[in-house]
Symmetry: C2
Subunit: 406 residues, 2 copies
């Protein structure tokens, strides 16, 4: 094992404190809605953003603030996305200025994010009246509060952290995330804030982040809708004392592998907490001609409404899996496709060489009754593999989203 | 008006008879499951098929039988898709031979189709023991029985017909269709069988059909899943007595316009009867740079799970509409987008120049309470337009598909 999971979330790494509180962005809720993550020292920083043409105002401001690869703090509200508002950028900038004062940092070093309803004017007053209290409550144990404060329809706060050795020094990477619906990242992700005490240059940090995202958040879909406010950023304090990573050496590879595994863990937690979800559905594809084709096929399966509802109904309706493979847009040999459905109860083979094979419906019920299901697709077209993360489609998804704004 | 809607469905045109009965493809149902459409004379014929890489066995056989542009009859069963079965093509060929005998036609002139569960062996015995009765019950009033016999999760049979004048002669085009889930046609469609008594050459018939499909079935989505068994075919008996259409003249244009409008009517009926749907959702896009971009944006809106659930919840959550426009993959000026939501109760303007405008939530409730909703998207990027057809996403969609196979 080159790294190990630990507790502590976004404040596990040296130099980071966090806080979360209720400021009242949404009138009718007592929920925490304002989160702050702060570094004791200047950090190198990197981020990826939504590829939606409609982008939240905070994304425009954060892009500018991260142009120099440096950051000190992250401020994020939930309950309002500050998107499609004429005054959005002005307000996002004001949020940075408001928190910069009690932190004693430059507003340009603040990363700002918002999540919630699109197209409603963001009220600044609740934020303005709470920034001092927020800064005062920063704590090395504040990860959980911050994780709670960025939640929207999430049912669980999402925190992870791992530790690894780099050049004899212990390095920590940790983070929090939110996201339950409007989850179909496209070269970016939902909201996730990561921290590390590794010493790593901004360009290398960006490169590691891109690699991690490709195998984690970009392989995740809850409902096929790419959010306008997706943002994943990472701040590196350098306090671990490792020799700074400035090129693609062994330390970079080890750091990227750990970061990737951590992002996959977060993506899994998000899929399992997808809006209304009762099951985590993973699809692994092997034997594909290219990694890109393996990714497309795996995502096609986990995005299919019919596969998702079959999983909810615990029905081994494998024809829908083959159907989704067939419309993925990849030219593979459909007569060489094997499909199995796996869970901790066992492995159920349902399709061999593109045609159905007899299986026990009783055993199928047992396999599908589990909450973590893996669809294993084996192709005969090459050596490439990929894995995608999703969830089932349930009554509660409809309920949550039929009545979200009101 | 260059054409007029009439009754009679797939047997409205001269020379066609149809029938539908229960033969027992699925053990536990009394539903009609075998349909036959027959022409008294040899017809020119054309078809489009699913672009899914996984294709039903009947599609392979029908492709071969239509290679010469001629057909006499269509045989279709519901309850079993005859797809992903090792013996699929052999059985599809057998179905053609079985019905060819009582009809006294060549098996090569039979179009065959199947719809239902994928990957279960098709039992031929129920079909073999009912082909004589089926042929005997052919009737010029048989359209409704045939429309019922091809239904799966459909809640209403789908029949349309129009009449138009070509060169002083009255021409009729009619048809039936099925489709309620796994509806996301890609250069093809679900099952639809059309007939006309127009005299038109096979190449011109194919050209007219392709044009009609581009604006109707290819702009339709219920759940984003492209079926393995999609097929739309048309048979032309020539009995109307018009001068045969063999080139792109005025008659061809008039015929294509009427055929297109009829296909749009069928697409609308299918969207409204989408699995679990309570509302028909149309999205019209104008001011787009190209027709292709208008189509992509319109489809992106009607495919969005979040737009669909908001419509089910009768919530004017227009931010989700803008979000879906934003991830459609088209480079349009997002700050020039206007959005209105319309129904027979009135027009609700919700977004102007990419930003929200104040509106009455009370009036929004009234507009959205209707069963036919149109989302009107106005861009400032050109002169092109398109329209897409979909439905809301409801508890019943989940219910129907969580328990379909069992």
């Amino acid at each position: 094992m080159a790294y190990e999971a630990i507790s502590g979330g976004v404040t596990a790494a040296k130099g980071f404190r966090a806080a979360g509180l209720h400021c009242g962005i949404r009138g009718n809720s007592e929920k925490k809605d304002l989160a702050l993550i702060s570094s004791d020292v200047e950090c190198t920083a990197a981020a990826v953003y939504t590829q939606n043409l409609v982008q939240g105002a905070p994304i425009a401001v954060t892009r500018q603030h991260l142009a120099n690869g440096k950051a000190r703090a992250i401020l994020c509200n939930s309950g309002n996305a500050n998107t499609c508002n004429a005054d959005g950028e002005e307000k996002a900038r004001k949020m940075c200025a408001l928190i910069a004062k009690p932190l004693g940092v430059s507003p340009d070093d603040v990363i700002v994010a918002s999540t919630g309803v699109i197209g409603q004017i963001l009220p600044l007053e609740p934020i303005a009246s709470h920034v001092d209290a927020l800064a005062d409550s920063l704590s090395p144990e504040g990860s959980h509060d911050a994780a709670e404060a960025i939640m929207t329809t999430d049912t669980v706060p999402k925190e992870v952290a791992v530790t690894l050795e780099l050049g004899g020094k212990t390095v920590i990477i940790g983070g929090i995330a939110k996201g339950s619906g409007m989850i179909h990242p496209n070269m970016a992700t939902m909201l996730s804030f990561l921290t590390t005490d590794a010493a790593i240059s901004a360009p290398m940090l960006q490169k590691a982040l891109n690699a991690a995202v490709a195998e984690s958040f970009n392989m995740l879909s809850v409902d096929g809708d790419t959010s306008t406010n997706d943002m994943l950023c990472i701040m590196a304090s350098g306090l671990a004392g490792n020799g700074e990573i400035t090129e693609e050496n062994d330390d970079f590879a080890a750091f990227t592998a750990a970061l990737t595994q951590m992002c996959i863990s977060l993506a899994r937690i998000m899929a399992k907490d997808g809006e209304g979800a009762t099951k985590l559905i993973e699809c692994s594809v092997t034997g594909a001609p290219t990694v890109e084709s393996a990714r497309k096929i795996a995502k096609s399966v986990i995005c299919s409404s019919l596969v998702k509802t079959a999983m909810f109904g615990e029905d081994a309706n494998w024809g829908r899996i083959l159907c989704a493979i067939g419309y993925a847009g990849e030219q593979i040999n459909i007569h060489g496709v094997d499909v199995s459905i796996c869970s901790k109860a066992g492995q159920l083979d349902v399709c061999k060489n593109g045609a159905g094979i007899p299986f026990s419906e009783e055993f199928a019920k047992v396999v599908l009754a589990e909450s973590d299901i893996e669809v294993v697709v084996t192709l005969q077209d090459g050596e490439s593999a990929a894995r995608a993360f999703g969830c089932d489609l349930t009554y509660d998804y409809v309920k949550i989203n039929g009545d979200y704004r009101t």
